[in-house]
């Protein structure tokens, strides 16, 4: 009958078991941290519905307001109102962010009487072409950002901002 466990065997099994448990306790969180970026859900797919009918859009930019509900900033939830300047270029819908690339004011379409077909920033007279390109010689240093857009049920949906792809 050799199935009797010797003192030496018992000690080595116990040490291996406890040691393995401790080692896995250390390694598991490390592995979890390492693969975390892969498991992370991307929030980029969030499209926000607007009340703008796509059929009503023309070549002239119109202001579209939309509200991001329950935006989370640390523990603070709030509704954030946002706007976009939307127009049609052929069949593609273009939505530009109204945030001036100079210091972040809100730009308007045709806000300057002498340049009715440009975006105008009232703070320091910055101007942008219809495709968002900044007019040289005015303060802004880059083109207006674009919003991702999609159409569902004839209504316009606006996604996250991306840097201008038209210029």
């Amino acid at each position: 009958m050799s199935n009797k466990v010797s003192r030496r065997q018992f000690l080595s099994y116990t040490l291996m078991g406890v040691g393995g448990f401790m080692a896995s306790g250390m390694l598991m969180p490390m592995v979890r941290f390492a693969i975390d970026p892969v498991l992370q859900q991307s929030g980029g797919g969030d499209f926000i519905p607007t009340s703008q009918k796509v059929d009503d859009l023309t070549e002239i930019p119109v202001r579209v307001d939309f509200t991001i509900k329950d935006r989370k900033d640390a523990w603070y939830y709030s509704d954030v109102s946002n706007t976009a300047w939307v127009y049609k270029n052929g069949d593609t819908i273009i939505a530009l962010s109204p945030v001036c690339k100079h210091l972040g004011c809100t730009v308007n379409w045709g806000g300057d009487e002498t340049h009715p077909d440009q975006f105008f920033c009232p703070c320091h007279a910055g101007r942008y072409m219809k495709n968002g390109d900044n007019v040289k010689g005015t303060p802004p240093t880059g083109p207006l950002d674009e919003y991702e857009v999609k159409v569902e049920g004839g209504l316009l949906y606006i996604g996250k901002t991306v840097s201008n792809t038209l210029v």
């Binding site: 109102s81 001036c100 100079h102 210091l103 004011c105 703070c123 320091h124």
Partner: protein, 148 residues
């Protein structure tokens, strides 16, 4: 710009562009009958100044609101504010308030008095429209100073 560390950094780098200071003056009334109205006008003033800040972020610095109660000596407060805020060297200073008492005060900068509108019962869209209307009311005052 808001009165927060992140925006102050931008301000310190871009001082020649951000030349306007906006100072909300809030009257806090404590008489039971007036509390509701006072709260409502505070809310209106804060909504409006925040809205002005988002529209003209690159040109204005929005101060935290200066609040006072009924027994505050406005003449003393006005003189103190004028004197202390001028140390910040903003080219234009605008005081926004719903308290008509400020219109008769001697201050460095412009005092803009606005009638309070109760926003609390409005749906967000109407509120936004009202704020835009109010901004259109005060805008000429800003533009006038800016184009001097």
């Amino acid at each position: 710009m808001n009165w927060i560390a992140k925006d102050i950094d931008t301000y310190l780098l871009q001082k020649e562009y951000i030349d306007t200071l906006i100072v909300p003056l809030l009257k806090v009334e404590t008489e039971p009958g007036n509390v509701k109205n006072s709260v409502s006008s505070s809310e209106f003033l804060m909504h409006l100044t925040t809205f002005i800040e988002t529209q003209f972020k690159g040109r204005v610095m929005l101060m935290p609101p200066f609040a006072y109660t009924m027994s505050t000596e406005l003449v003393v407060m006005a003189a103190g504010l004028s004197n202390d805020l001028s140390a910040l060297h903003f080219k234009h200073v605008f005081y926004l308030t719903t308290d008509p008492a400020w219109t008769s005060m001697e201050m460095v900068g412009s005092v803009i008095w606005l009638p309070s509108i109760p926003l609390e019962s409005m749906d967000p869209q109407l509120r936004q429209t009202i704020l835009e209307d109010q901004l259109r009311q005060v805008l000429p005052r800003f533009v006038e100073k800016w184009s001097e």
